[in-house]
């Protein structure tokens, strides 16, 4: 793979990260004051038994960011910290480092989102392709409307409904969390099983909602592809319908569909975050939720940045994968 292509894609990746970090830096300060500082002072003002801890936090904070220094210097320090993934310490759970907390929560989210999204994408795309194909079996057309309707429901609301019916009314699945209360996370097989069991409902809400979305998108692509001349010519060649479906129609429609996946990642992750809240799932989404409730800004910014990095990375991988799928994409164009 020519170096220029790789470098160009990497550059895009870095720009996204830089934009994210900058947005994270400037927006909070738009209100005039530094929210973290405000919050800390607020906590200090409340006083009481927590004062000693808060003062330590303030001292650490001031030493770190040097609030007397001019803004651009703060910005540079900030960028340096971001590059080292140093997000500071949590205000409410001092002295836990934000990076450490994120690292604990990240695997849960990563596994849940990746597995659920890939499943939804694969099943949904195939289903959508079949819906668009005139010769597909009847069951496809029967299942289509309910699945498409499901796609209109945001993940987390679907999650709510699932929790009520499958966890509360019928105790088929656990009510939430990543594992039973009291269990210690470990790499043992028993724990993994338990975690998987707890992940079924959250994953299901993402998958059911996602299938409808990807099916719809794929259907549109397939309709366009089926109208192309090469499909007509494939039929004129006397190829069997199954071969035309897979090698001529689907194979071409999957290209814009993959691009759509790259673009939808932000949306997917946003939804997953909310799903975690509904299920109390110990991922970064829940971390964020708790942080919002207590205005624990370092965590909020840290999570936002990490998620953007993760998405940027995933987009980069997809971008590098696309030329493998589509021989028309030469490495020399933007």
């Amino acid at each position: 793979m020519p170096l220029s292509y790789l470098l160009r894609r990497l550059a895009v990746f870095l720009i996204i990260i830089w934009v994210a970090a900058t947005v994270n830096f400037f927006i909070p300060r738009l209100s005039g004051a530094d929210p973290v500082r405000e919050r800390l002072l607020q906590m200090a003002a409340i006083g009481g038994t927590g004062t000693g801890t808060v003062e330590e936090v303030i001292k650490t904070y001031q030493a770190k960011f040097g609030l007397d220094k001019p803004l651009w210097q703060q910005y540079l320090f900030y960028l340096g910290d971001m590059l080292r993934f140093d997000f500071g310490v949590s205000i409410t759970r001092f002295p836990n480092s934000v990076a450490g907390m994120i690292l604990d929560a990240l695997p849960w989210t990563l596994v849940l989102v990746t597995v659920a999204t890939l499943m939804a994408f694969a099943v949904g795309s195939l289903f959508g392709a079949l819906v668009a194909w005139p010769r597909s079996p009847r069951v496809v057309h029967v299942l289509a409307p309910p699945l498409l309707t499901l796609s209109a429901i945001p993940y987390y609301l679907l999650g709510l409904v699932l929790v009520y019916f499958l966890a509360f009314s019928w105790r088929v699945f656990p009510l939430g969390g990543g594992y039973r209360v009291g269990t210690q996370p470990s790499w043992s097989w028993a724990f993994i099983q338990e975690a998987a069991y707890h992940s079924v409902l959250p994953a299901l809400s993402i998958i059911l909602s996602g299938i409808g979305f990807w099916a719809l998108s794929m259907r549109g692509m397939m309709v366009t592809t089926q109208g192309e001349d090469y499909v007509t010519f494939a039929e004129a060649k006397g190829l069997r319908p199954r071969r035309i479906f897979f090698r001529y129609a689907l194979r071409n429609a999957i290209l814009p569909q993959t691009t759509a996946l790259a673009l939808a990642l932000g949306h997917v992750v946003s939804g997953a975050v909310l799903v975690e809240i509904v299920f109390g799932y110990p991922g970064v989404g829940n971390l964020l939720y708790q942080a919002i409730r207590t205005f624990d800004y370092p965590i909020i910014y840290g999570v936002t940045f990490m998620v953007i990095v993760a998405i940027g990375l995933a987009t980069l991988i997809l971008d590098l994968l696309l030329p493998v799928l589509d021989p028309r994409i030469t490495y020399h164009r933007t």
Binding site: E228, D229, Y230, T232, F233, A234, E235, A236, K237, G238, L239, R240, R243, R247, Y248, R251, N252, L255, L325, D326, P327, R328
Partner: protein, 346 residues
């Protein structure tokens, strides 16, 4: 594949003319009707077209856009999709009515016995498959089992036959020029040595030099194969150089079918006359002559002869009575009230 089962659409004996029996008729189209169902009604794209095609013959079909030429091509391959529908007629390929065949049998006929070279080869090749794979998969799907080595060689021979370098086999379509893509499409179309080849405007999107080369290749291949060819287009000059007989289409109907030289020498149907008159000539300098008026709406065609609103020789009869395509002169079929059936033509 060549046996004519008595149950599968064998034409009734009384209707086969002497000419058919003599000349080895490959394709016989009888009263083909194709329409497109739109929300505003049915559009009659092909309105009762009949013609025969003999082995080794080249028949041209000319007409303005919307005259139904490409629709005929698709109909003959049974590739008409909704909202289009073949409403009636019969198409006998080597004696078998292919319109009455079940889908799977028709599939097997495609490419093996009747092949289509599509309009605009720019898009006819699958962008994500190499050329050789697109040639080979057709063979596999028609029951020809070939192992790699033999397949590679056959592909190379085929490419050479259409004038392409053997390296093309490994390439993707986007790496080829327009002319090369067209040759690749031709290669695929002839790879199973079909009896009938339909070429739908094979050179329209190419520049003149490449056009000539492609047509020469096509003619050479036709002679080598002994196949019957239907060439669809709107370039009269190209027709003059390539076909034996020419069919003129107007508003979904065939208005004249004549040997090519005779139609140029003395076009019978007024539309054909205007078409030829509109060709620029090196011999005399004159103004550009178009054909006044617009093609009729196929949704709501005019009564009587569809050409009558634009016809310089229109008579009262033309406004009410639809002319029938008949053999008015020896070897010349015209649908026009100007001509009576001459003695000794039928």
């Amino acid at each position: 594949m060549n046996d004519v089962s008595p149950r599968l659409g064998q034409p009734r004996a009384a209707e086969i003319t002497r000419q058919d029996e003599e000349a080895g008729v490959m394709l016989q189209v009888r009263d083909l009707r194709v329409s497109y169902l739109t929300s505003r009604g049915a559009v009659q794209a092909v309105n009762g077209v009949s013609f025969t095609l003999r082995r080794g013959e080249a028949l041209g079909l000319v007409g303005e856009s919307g005259s139904g030429k490409s629709t005929i091509a698709l109909a003959l391959m049974r590739l008409i999709k909704p909202p289009g529908v073949i409403e009636g007629g019969q198409v006998f390929l080597d004696g078998r009515d292919i319109l009455a065949l079940p889908d799977e049998e028709m599939r097997r006929l495609r490419l093996a016995e009747i092949a289509l070279i599509t309009q605009g080869a720019m898009n006819s090749l699958n962008p994500v498959m190499r050329i050789r794979d697109q040639i080979i998969d057709a063979w596999r799907e028609h029951g020809e089992v070939v192992e790699r080595g033999e397949a590679e060689e056959r592909v190379r021979d085929l490419l050479r036959w259409v004038g392409l370098r053997p390296e093309v086999a490994r390439m993707y379509p986007h790496e080829l020029s327009g002319g090369m893509k067209q040759r690749a499409v031709i290669a695929i179309a002839i790879s199973l040595r079909p009896k009938v080849i339909i070429a739908d405007e094979p050179t329209s999107a190419l520049d003149v030099v490449v056009q000539r080369q492609i047509m020469q290749t096509l003619r050479r291949i036709q002679r080598d194969l002994g196949a019957a060819v239907i060439l669809i287009g709107h370039d009269m000059g190209l027709m003059a150089q390539f076909v034996d007989r020419l069919g003129v289409m107007y508003a979904g109907k065939l208005v004249e079918v004549s040997p090519i030289r005779e139609i140029f020498r003395e076009p019978l149907h007024p539309y054909g006359e205007l078409l030829i008159a509109s060709l620029p000539s090196l011999a005399r300098k004159a103004e550009f002559q178009g054909i006044p008026g617009l093609p009729p709406s196929l949704l709501d065609p005019p009564p009587g002869c569809p050409f009558h609103p634009r016809c310089p020789h229109v008579m009262e009869r033309c406004r009410v009575e639809v002319p029938v395509l008949e053999l008015k002169r020896p070897h010349r079929w015209v649908a026009c009230h100007l001509y009576q059936v001459e003695e000794g033509s039928a």
